[in-house]
Symmetry: C2
């Protein structure tokens, strides 16, 4: 409800972009992820820090996978994702800077 971290907003933007790329409504994604629309809305808006399981379910509804990448490999992974020749959906990747411990 009162999350609002940089990372959350970045994730939210990615979710929204990906969802629109798939022409899905918030309700459809929420259903697929097993949560309600108001909750999905908060997550997409970056105003709620979803549980790990919830984020994974949302990601999969959008054909994304949550991964933990060694920081040293992030540039390489980014480069790999940049020239998305085109399979079906839109590109994606997340995370970067932040700071404040919790919340």
């Amino acid at each position: 409800m009162r999350a609002r971290s940089d990372a959350l907003m970045e994730i939210g933007r990615l979710l929204k972009t990906t969802r629109k790329g798939l022409s899905l409504t918030q309700e459809q994604v929420a259903d697929m992820a097993g949560i309600t629309r108001p909750r999905y809305r908060d997550i997409e808006a970056g105003s709620s820090a979803a549980r790990t399981t919830t984020l994974i379910n949302i990601a999969r509804a959008l054909r994304l996978e949550l991964m933990l990448i060694p920081q040293a490999m992030v540039p390489a992974v980014d480069a790999l994702l940049q020239p998305h020749d085109g399979d079906d959906d839109l590109p994606a990747f997340v995370a970067s800077p932040d700071g404040g411990a919790n919340a």
Copy 2:
């Protein structure tokens, strides 16, 4: 408290492996991530679904980054992470199958 999904246990295993590779104690990682040791312990054991912000903080304490990768790109990213010639720490990557909507 009673999470226990496949994905959570997989993440937990990765966190533990990475932490040991960095020779850090649970307490050190918990401190860096801004949570308590009992909580970090639960997360590492896969018995608790951390909030997104918490997972990000833990990941960064372990020099990892949370990323959402298009499923179509996962094999390529995996391949990129496999032959880690030697940068600094241990390997890493996560996620796979699961199912049950929430929790």
